[in-house]
Each structure stands twice: as C-alpha cells, then as structure tokens.
Subunit: 450 residues, 2 copies
C-alpha cells in the first residue's frame, strides 16, 4: 500500500471544489479515500468547509470520519448539524463510538438527539453506555456482540446468531449466558456445526472464558488482552452479567495514549498537547513545570548563599555545583523511570525495602565509578587533592540519595493511589537538585574541616 | 476474570513438586493455567527446574510458553533440549514465532533442528522467514494465511480454503492472488457463499486491500494498522507477491516496545532493562549516560572557571548557575519530547524553519514570564537591581537557545535517519547545561559591563 500522504495541493484542490460547490466531484474524489484519511483532511479545513463536506458525504462514511476527527474540530462540526443529522450519524456507528460522541454533546440537546435515533434498541444501548465512567472497561466497551443462551438448542442458536451477527462488524467469539444473563462461557463454531441440531448449548459450550469487570481500569484491560493475546474480551457487571465487549483496536488506542502520557509527564509536559497546538496551549502545558524548576533553582541559590563564606577560599567547590545538580537529577530520573515502567507493566515483585536496598547498592556502584573519574579530573585540573576528594566523596553521597529518592517517590505515590508517572521528570529533577546541592556542601564542609 | 497473580507460595509449591518429581500432579496443577502465566512461573525457577517442567508438559502448551519467556531463560532451557525436542516445539508454533526462536539458536544446531521438523512445508516457511531483517514487516509476519487464486471456481476455492484454514489459528481475511502469486484483493465470505459454485473468484473478489511491503519498518506497520483499525494486514514482496501476514497481537507488542524504548531513552537508560535485572545489567544501561552527564558537568566547571575573576564581586551570579542549568535542561527536554512524539506519530506538518520560529516565540513567551518572577525574587533577596536584571535577561536568552537546540536536534537527527529519541534526556540536558552556563555568564558580563 502506498500509504495516503496528505499534501497541501490535495487540500487546496478540495477547498477549491468546496468553494465551487462541486458536490459530485468531491464525492467521487473522496470515494476511494479511507475515512481515517478523510478525517485528516477535514482537520485541516475551516469550520464551514468541514461542515459542508460532512453533510455532503454518505453518513456511513462520515460517521466513521467523525470518530477520527480532532476533538475541537468534531465539536464545531456537530454544533452545525441538526439533532436529526447527528442521530443519523450515530445510527451508523457501533454503540461505543456513538456513546463517546453523545458524551461530548451539549447536555441540552442529548435527549433530542437520542430520541431522533430510529433504531430504538441502538438508542437504548447508547444510553446504557453513557452510565459508565469513561476511565473504565464500561466506558470502553461496545454493546455489539453475539450472545446465546445455554438453554437454547443448536437450531435456535444458529437462527438467533444470524440475526445478532448482522449488527456486529466482526464476530470474535460467541458468548454463552444463562437465563439471568450471567456469562457462562463461549462456544466454538466448529462444535456448533458438528453436533445434532437438537443438542442444547449447555452440553457443548466451553466453560472457560477470559473476561473483565465493568469497573476495571482501561490499563488493566490492556494488560490482560495483550498478555493473553486476546482480540476481544467480554465485560461483565458486578453480579457477572454479560454487558458488553471490548475489542483490540480500542485497546491499541489505550496503550498509545498511556505511553504518550507517561512520556510527556517525564518530559515535564502536563497536558495532552501536540507540536501543532497553539503557543498558548503549549505554554499552559509547559510553564507550570518550568516555574517549579525556577523555584527549585531559587531554593538551590538560597542554599548556596548559606555557604557564601566559603566562596573565596574554596572557589573550586562552587564550580562543580552544576555538575552535582545534573548528576542528582539524572540519577533520580533513571531510578524513577525504571520503577514507573515496572509498575506500569506489573514487573515489580518483592518488597519496597529490598528494592530500595538494591537501588542504593546500584547507586553506590555507579557513584564510585563516577567519583573516581571526577577525582582524577579535579585533581589534575586544580592540583588540590583534598578538594578533589571532598567533591568526589560528596558526589557519591549525592548519587546514593538521588537514587533513593528516585526509587522511593514513585513507589510511595503508587501506594497512595497517585499516578507514579508524575514523579519522573521535573519534579524529581528539581527536588534532587536542591537535595543534591545541600548534601554536597554539607559533606564537602565536613571533609575539608571548614 | 480474577487475573492470575503469581505468589511466592505457588512458586514454592511448584518447586516442591518438581523436586519430588511429581509429574502427574504438576501436570494437573498447571493444566488450567494460561501459557503466559506458566511462562511467568518458569521465569522464576532455576534452569534445571525450568527444563524439567518444559520437558514434562505437553508441547502444544510448552511451545507457547517458550515464546513468552524472558530471552535469557529461554536460551538456557533450549540449551538443555535436544534438536529433536526443539523441533517438536517449533512444529506447534506459528511460523513467525518459530522463526524468532530459530533465530536465537546457536548457528551450529540450526540446520539439525530444522531437519528434525517433520512438516516439511512448515520447515520451509520458517527458513523463508529467517531471511528477513528482524526490524521489518518481513521479520514480523507469519506465513499462516488463507490465500486463493483468482482463477479458481468457488467450488475449488472452498475446498482449498478448508485445507489452509487448518493451519491458521484465526482467519482474518481471505486473500486473492493471481497465477504469479501477486496480491490482487480479498474475498468476502458472504459473497463466496451467495454465488453459484461455478463462478470464478476473479468475478467476485474485492480489488481493494491494504497491504505493506516486506521492508516496511515495524513502527510504520503499527501506524497503518492502528490508523485503519486493521486486525491483520497482508505483506507483499518487492514485486507485489503475497508472502505473509501480520496480525494485531504482534503489533501491540511493537507499540509497547517502541513506547518503552523512547521512554527509557528520555530517562537516560540505553538498554532494554527492567527493574528486576541485575545491578550489573542496570549499571551498563545507566552508567554511559551518567558519564556523559559528568563530562558535561566538568565542561560547565571549566567554563565557570574562566569567569573566576568575577567571583568575589559578583557572587550572586554564581549562586544561580544551578538554576540556569536546570532551566536550560528542562526547556530542552520539553521541546525535544514534543518533536520526538510528533515525529513518531506523523503529526508534524510544515517546514523546519516555521517550527523553529514557533519554538523560539514559545520560549520567548515562557522566558519573559519566568524572568519576571526571577527578577522580583533576586531583587528582593539581594537588593541589587542591576544584577537581578542581568540574571533575568540571561535567563531569557538561555531559554530561547535551549528551546532552539531542543527543537533542532531531533529534527536534524530525524532528517539524517537517526532515531530522534536519543536527543531527549541526558544528551539534550547535558549540552543545554553547558550552553546555558556559557550564555549566562557572557550575557551577564555584558550587561554588568565587567
């Protein structure tokens, strides 16, 4: 496949056609373009052009386009559509995607939009999904699935399945429930086709099936599905009733978003921003962390001010403060990143105490090697052995403490139910800068006997 | 599902049973445990115990277990198996997983192992896959797929499909090829079942199908599959022949690994390590970046040494060097992270020049706000307005340069075909530390007229 490449020329062409109201030509030009690509095009258009295009194209295509648009673009387009037009789009979508769109609509039109949906069963399913927290398995799942009762015969089962499968884009599994809708297991299509038609489902179903609870966190669902290589997983409520199904394509999005969020937090970017967002949005996402860093730096300055009387005699010590701060920051970020990643992947076993001891030993080993290099450098450069020793020994202490803080902070936050990812990046760097410089001067002072 | 939780007790129980050679009990205890969980258990056992368990359990389970094990554990277990035993495991696996294992075997036994595989077609497919670069679509794909010729009739097609489907765990699509094996399109099962049996496939297939080239990078395949919500994608060679198929579960692993790698690079961890790896492995992954940081710090010390004559008179300037270094580092990491993420997701549009101008404006805005805060702080603290102005103006310059370097470096590396992710983390922090301190002292000196 030559992947679709969005060009300025193509967008220009589309804009031209929209301006001249060339509906038929637009329709045939975009016919062969995938909806995800049409969404990319529309993201680049202005509001009127975008609305025109959405109204022009078939709703079985535009409904999918809507789900792929940037949030703000979708919001402005929906603002230009009537409740009936929105309902037509929802009609074409799977319940999970439809519910996501309804959840974004202004509260006052939700009821009207829902009432315009002709398929009442579909409308009911969408409303059901609105009840679930966005950040849960319930918020991810769709109502579309193939479900049979253990009390049915094979004949009835096949007939019912055919009707249900009409609404399901891809049938991954056939789920078996009892008369109270409790999930009992799954059915192998092969078994279904090889037994006599009078057989009851309860005699042939497979009682083993992976499932998740509606309240499960999306990250947990992602872990389970990727660990067990599942392409779909049924979702049950608190008493075990089958209420929906999550497919792997939704999980791929969860994994991507999770990774991006952690990465941005580690880099000191607190909101979901992209390089193409406005300067103002980017500033809001970045400035808070920079201000934190500024306060940290001011704290470091005040601490150093407290050792000002050493300035004239031990100038060399002051030359190395950026080095000390940088090493403390780097070690802290390394330690915390490993812990954050381990927590995210459930890799971490063993107690917190053991982990801290290991990190201290690791930091000690790294510290000794780095201190040896620094000792040689400083001694040769300044020719003052005792100062070189003082700086190097302090460096070891600083690294050990930084490793400890970097390990302890995310573990502690995790225990408290706070996302440990906030402990990486500027937060850990800043606190380690201050700690590091304080430790450095105190130890150096002791060694030099000042 | 109550997800499987690996406990010390359970491992103890397993070890006990292994020691007492209780084969039947082990077998029944682990029967209901998913292979991914068995792999977790075996990762915790010693080499002899692990080998015993692999030899004990059925090879249709152990083959899957092998694919899930940690690399080093798998290597040591395979070292204890005969070529025939390894061949039996490979026999049970899909070709892509089998090829991955063969690629890890010592070169001298590969031929013997392959020759022990009874299914010669399977052996041939595995050997074919060994030709492809691990870091390409060819290295990810499996040979298992359902493929029909456009020249067949429906009758012949159904018969052939049935035979092929035997070897395919999950049939996602039926691919249509011509007599030269060139991929032509795909077949809808529904269409196949509703036309007369004498119809030729060429009359009913859908000529539109997404595919990737064997040489495509895994990240690109992941992007295409997740953008278009595909659960499987066919792979073609340079002349368009259908050679394999990639399924979404392999892509989920690619996305995870990619995200982890970028995250670790940003944190200054250069190898694929986990919190539970040995201190030595962790040191090897972390020390190089720390040494880089050490050199950076030493460089900063030398630069500051060049301004030593200012020490006694402009002490305040020196108190703020950690702040300057920290701000330069933070801004650099923020800018580079946004660019790296944008490049990874193909978000970036427009020219490099525009992007640099935007980043400079952004840095200027952030810099002005931060400088204003710092000016107030320093002025109040030290009561020396001119020094406060000098420090604050320098801060603006430092932030702008840091933003520029943070934006330019990943874009430049990307243009040169180097992974821009290495530009985040310690690399950018360290270079910005040095740059920052140099700029700071030069500008402060100019302003204070020293």
């Amino acid at each position: 496949m030559t992947p679709f490449k969005l060009t300025e020329e193509f967008i220009g062409e589309i804009e031209q056609l929209i301006e001249n109201q060339k509906g038929t030509e637009l329709d045939s030009l975009l016919k062969e373009v995938h909806y995800a690509d049409v969404a990319e095009i529309i993201n680049e258009l202005d509001e009127d052009e975008a609305t025109y295009l959405i109204k022009l194209l078939d709703s079985d295509k535009t409904s999918d386009v809507l789900t792929e648009l940037d949030d703000d673009v979708r919001e402005s387009i929906l603002g230009n559509l009537s409740s009936k037009e929105i309902a037509e789009e929802l009609e074409e979508l799977d319940t999970d995607d439809a519910a996501d769109i309804v959840a974004e609509l202004p509260q006052e039109i939700v009821q009207e939009v829902i009432s315009e949906i002709e398929d009442k069963e579909h409308a009911k399913d969408i409303v059901d999904l609105l009840r679930y927290d966005e950040d849960s398995a319930g918020g991810l799942m769709a109502k579309e699935l193939v479900k049979v009762s253990e009390n049915w015969t094979v004949t009835k089962c096949v007939k019912e399945m055919r009707a249900q499968a009409e609404n399901v884009t891809r049938v991954h599994s056939i789920y078996v429930v009892d008369k109270d809708e409790i999930l009992k297991g799954r059915l192998s299509l092969k078994d279904l086709l090889t037994v006599s038609t009078a057989t009851h489902i309860r005699e042939i179903y497979i009682p083993k099936v992976d499932y998740v609870n509606v309240n499960e966190k999306p990250e947990e669902v992602a872990k389970i599905m990727s660990k067990y290589d599942l392409e779909a997983i049924p979702v049950v409520d608190e008493i075990g009733r089958l209420v929906g199904r999550i497919t792997i394509d939704d999980i791929v999005d969860v994994i991507r978003e999770e990774a991006e969020k952690d990465y941005q937090l580690a880099a000191g970017i607190s909101q979901d921003v992209e390089a193409d967002d406005s300067i103002w949005e980017l500033t809001r996402a970045r400035l808070p962390w920079l201000i934190l860093g500024l306060f940290g730096g001011a704290g470091a300055a005040v601490i150093m001010g407290g050792f000002e009387e050493m300035f004239s005699k031990y100038t060399t010590l002051f030359l190395f403060t950026p080095l000390i701060a940088a090493m403390a920051g780097n070690v802290g970020v390394q330690s915390s990143a490993i812990i954050v990643q381990g927590l995210a992947n459930d890799y971490l076993k063993g107690s917190m105490g053991n982990r801290l001891i290991k990190e201290i030993l690791l930091a000690l080993l790294n510290g000794l090697i780095l201190a040896a290099i620094l000792l040689l450098f400083t001694w040769i450069w300044k020719g003052d052995f005792m100062t070189a020793v003082a700086i190097s020994v302090s460096l070891i202490a600083v690294i050990v403490v930084a490793g400890f803080v970097g390990t302890f902070t995310p573990l502690f936050l995790h225990k408290r139910g706070i996302d440990p990812a906030i402990a990486t990046g500027p937060f850990i760097t800043t606190s380690n800068d201050i700690f590091g410089i304080l430790i450095y001067f105190v130890i150096a002072k002791l060694i030099l006997g000042i």
